[in-house]
């Protein structure tokens, strides 16, 4: 590592923390009884998780008819939510793998929670296509190329929907392994500090015999590097293939070549949006303001501004090329987005994703936590609308006007969506209680470092 860092760069960890401070402060939530805030939050999350169970049970028992989909709009909130959650699931790997490649050391205090977020978000996302298949009890293996003896048809390898199954499941497994691997040294730290029998046993079990010797560290670093190398193409492939779900079709508004990089940029944008939402609360509640500093928030705000503008560039490019193409269906699809019955979704998308991040040009906006928090919510909302615009407004008016229809979700669909928040936060609260939110082993290496 470069040992000569310019003095004008800000420190990565503010206040002079000792190694012991790091262990003490980051292990505090794990070694103490849960706070009232945690209890309230967790209860709320579990209630919504229950709502998810209920609405999914209803969908399974009664059928997809409980949703508001119709013959024209066959993909509605379900796929919108799927793409939205998958997009959020990009930030974790992006932060750990791509920011690692660019040697952005500020990633070290946020990568752990971002990776956890990735895993939970991908789980939420996977629910939607799974239940949309209808008979979920066969859907679970229908998607895999299994012999016909299982009673199903051979999968269609030409379909990007199948590629999606492989891309998402591979991404999930690698992210999970990567995240767990990074946790091992920290789990061992907790084991070594453990005062109760239960904690000693479980953290010992999950630390997989970590000794902290040079040999274990050496292996740990080799495996980390390999996994980072694998994750980088994976994180790009997932949203690329999600974009192929749409772009390989001949539906106006879907078939557009910019989709792959534009979806990836959008995923980074929404992933960072969610990271900001979660971490601005976490740093306050857990008192981690010296680890997740204003400098971190500013860097994330800059990433939001950059990716928001890139996404905006893609919107404008699409709009321009549709007008330029001379294909009337293409032109109508975009005109209909902006002025049709779903105009509010289009303009919400434009405002939230292209206009709102421009506030970050101001230093004040980039360094004021509550304002970043507010804008991160705006970004989450805007990215949800983006997927809604792409999916619903392209489908609801197809080539034949006789097939035109409108779509609105039923309470079951809304319930499932809200329920996934319950699931997401239930897992996140459990994570924050039982595992260190910040990577102690890594942060200890940069205590005196600057950006």
């Amino acid at each position: 590592m470069s040992h000569n860092i310019t003095t004008i760069r800000p420190r990565l960890v503010t206040k002079d923390k000792s190694l012991a401070d790091v262990s003490n402060e980051i292990c505090r939530p794990i070694e103490n009884k849960p706070s009232t805030t945690w209890k309230i939050g967790f209860t709320l999350a579990v209630i919504f998780f229950g709502l998810l169970a209920f609405t999914l049970a209803l969908t399974t028992l009664v059928g997809i008819g409980t949703w508001g989909l119709n013959k024209s709009v066959q993909w509605g909130w379900d796929i919108t939510n799927f793409v939205w959650w998958i997009g959020i699931g990009h930030a974790g790997t992006l932060i750990s793998a791509i920011l690692l490649l660019f040697r952005q050391k500020w990633r070290m205090s946020i990568n752990r929670s971002a990776e956890a977020m990735t895993i939970f978000a991908v789980l939420c996302a996977a629910l939607f296509p799974l239940f949309h298949m209808g008979r979920v009890w066969v859907g679970a293996y229908w998607v895999f190329p299994l012999p016909n003896a299982f009673g199903s048809l051979w999968v269609n390898f030409n379909s990007p929907l199948l590629w999606d199954v492989f891309a998402v499941s591979t991404y999930f497994s690698v992210s999970l392994v990567f995240w767990y691997l990074g946790l091992i040294p920290d789990i061992a730290t907790i084991r070594d500090r453990a005062t109760t029998k239960g904690r000693k046993f479980w953290y010992n079990f999950f630390s997989m015999g970590w000794t902290g010797s040079t040999r274990t560290w050496n292996r740990y670093e080799v495996v980390s590097l390999i996994l980072a190398g694998i994750s980088t193409p994976l994180v790009l492939s997932v949203h690329t293939i999600v974009s192929f779900d749409f772009a390989t079709s001949v539906v106006p508004g879907w078939h557009t070549t910019i989709f792959p990089p534009y979806f990836v940029a959008g995923a980074i944008f929404s992933g960072f949006g969610m990271v900001c939402t979660l971490l601005i609360i976490a740093r306050k509640v857990l008192n981690y303001e010296d680890y997740i500093t204003i400098g971190h928030l500013e860097a994330m705000a800059k990433v939001l501004m950059l990716t928001g503008t890139l996404v905006g560039l893609a919107y404008i490019t699409e709009f321009f090329v549709a007008a330029y193409s001379g294909v009337e269906y293409e032109q109508y699809a975009f005109l209909n987005r902006a002025t049709g019955p779903y105009w509010w979704a289009y303009w919400s998308m434009m405002t939230c994703n292209l206009v709102a991040p421009q506030f970050f040009w101001m230093k004040w906006a980039r360094t004021t936590p509550w304002f970043i928090f507010f804008l991160s919510i705006v970004v989450n909302v805007g990215m949800w609308f983006e997927r809604f615009v792409i999916i619903v407004t392209s489908l609801h008016r197809e080539y034949l006007p006789s097939g035109w229809a409108l779509y609105s979700p039923t309470w079951v669909e809304i319930g499932i969506y809200l329920g996934t928040f319950g699931m997401f936060f239930t897992f996140f609260f459990l994570f924050a209680k039982f595992l260190p939110v910040i990577n102690m082993a890594e942060i200890k290496t940069i205590l005196k470092d600057s950006e």
């Binding site: 390989t248 503008t309 193409s325």
Partner: protein, 459 residues
């Protein structure tokens, strides 16, 4: 490991190198000779119409008695869709349009190289990157060709536009619906594809780049003279402004100059594709000059670590280029919509087929496999050769974007093409080296210089 000890930050000057100047002059002279021979020996009659002179053809085409063929050789009026196999774009073009198309290819390629070097320069400021500081002057020198390449581009587009661009050729005739030769698609695009917008765009966009580049350059000079953090902080602001303007304007420029070559065709990723092509080429040019200066004993602060990182950049962005390439190709191939697919249909047939494969092999396969190992990226000789090959590969890429739609079967790969490429390359080298002599090689007052000199990634 280079850290731990003190590195003396010494100023260096490059006062020119006789051998290099000679080399660039030889390239210029050789290029000029080949170009002249190429022009003199170029077939003045059309290959598909031996015997009839192109002048006559021109008159026939303008003759009212003969129904004019549109781009696709389609006599039917108001046909909304192109037929599966488009007709040769060069069928009725005069012989000298081959010269124009070559100037367009080269000037556009070098505009891309130099404007993306400027983008890379600005990127270092907005990303707060330190490692490039020791060879910052090299990045600056690559931008030196921008004004000249832009002027050549602007001139050739003004002079040759109706010979190069199908849409421009018929523009002045103001065809109305019902007239033979009326093209519904092109008439629907005339709000964007019209001469005033075209010429306005190709002048204003490079001009703004040039002016911001000049501003950044003057801040760089000021920093050398005065020191302090003011020029650095101002550079960050100008870089941010440039980057925002740049990502939008390079899109418009690529649509105006290159996408409109195939005026009926469209692809939303096209601007990103042009960006990727130019960025890899710019990185290769920067790397080559860094390696060259090091080989003659300059840039002592540049270590293997910097070279390694440049190699990583070339490797990564070659993959990025491949990603964008496959995104465009796969989606168009898969959907198989006639309006879109003909772009690749032309390029996968006859004379273009080899270029199509050379393009993907040179620009993706070779750097992907060769630069994968750490040793390859730290080997100056190997990296240098890869950079040369990639520069040629991305030139081929631009050639393949320009030629089929402008002059079709009139295009060849002969002395004219090689000569013109040598001529431009020679001029580029000459001007870059000249601009390197104009200021110190080390940005001695740059706040990240010390950090950059100690740059060491540890892996």
């Amino acid at each position: 490991m280079a850290h731990g000890h003190k590195i003396e930050l010494k100023q260096e000057f490059f006062s020119g190198n006789k051998k290099a100047t000679k080399f660039s002059l030889i390239l210029i002279v050789l290029g000029l000779l080949l170009t002249i021979i190429g022009i003199a020996t170029a077939p003045k009659t059309h290959p598909s119409n031996e015997g009839a002179s192109s002048e006559e053809h021109h008159h026939v085409a303008a003759d009212n008695n003969t129904p004019r063929l549109n781009y696709y050789g389609d006599h039917q009026v108001n046909h909304p869709l192109p037929p599966p196999i488009p007709e040769d774009a060069g069928a009725h073009k005069p012989w000298y349009s081959r010269v124009y198309a070559n100037i367009l290819t080269n000037s556009y390629f070098f505009v891309l190289v130099s404007c993306l070097a400027l983008f890379f320069w600005a990127l270092q400021y907005i990303a707060n990157a330190g490692w490039t500081t020791v060879f910052k002057r090299v990045i600056e020198s690559v931008v030196a060709f921008l004004p000249i390449a832009s002027i050549i581009l602007i001139l050739i587009l003004i002079i040759g536009k109706s010979d190069l661009y199908h849409w421009a050729h018929y523009e002045h005739e103001a065809l109305k619906p019902g007239e033979p030769g009326y093209d519904k698609i092109l008439s629907g695009k005339s709000w964007f594809l019209n001469s005033s917008f075209f010429i306005g765009g190709i002048i204003i966009i490079p001009l703004v780049w040039f002016l911001i580049g000049k501003k950044l350059s003057s801040l760089s000079v000021r920093e050398d003279a005065e020191g302090g953090l003011t020029p650095f902080k101002k550079s960050i602001r100008w870089s941010a402004a440039f980057t925002v303007f740049f990502i939008f304007s390079i899109s418009v420029l690529s649509w105006l100059v290159i996408m409109s070559v195939d005026a009926h065709w469209y692809s939303t990723i096209f601007s990103v594709y042009n960006f990727a092509t130019g960025f890899v080429a710019a990185l290769c040019a920067i790397t080559l000059i860094v390696l060259y200066l090091k080989s003659i004993g300059h840039l002592n602060l540049v270590t293997d670590e910097h070279i390694h990182d440049l190699g990583k950049f070339i490797f990564a962005f070659s993959i990025f280029w491949g990603y964008i390439w496959i995104s465009q190709f796969l989606l168009i191939w898969y959907a198989h919509i006639p309006e879109e697919v003909y772009y690749y249909q032309v390029r996968l047939m006859d004379q273009w087929k080899p270029y199509f494969y050379i393009n993907i092999v040179i620009n993706f396969v070779i750097p992907f496999f060769v630069l994968m190992t750490r040793d390859a990226k730290r080997n100056p000789k190997l990296l240098g050769w890869i950079a040369v090959i990639l520069l040629f590969g991305h030139w081929i890429d631009v050639y393949l974007m320009v030629m089929p739609g402008t002059i079709g079967s009139l295009a060849q790969f002969g002395m004219l093409e090689i000569g013109m490429l040598l001529l431009f390359t020679g001029t580029f080298i000459y001007l870059t080296l000249l601009s390197l002599t104009k200021r110190a090689l080390v940005p001695i007052n740059h706040p990240y210089l010390e950090e950059s000199a100690h740059h060491d990634v540890g892996v």
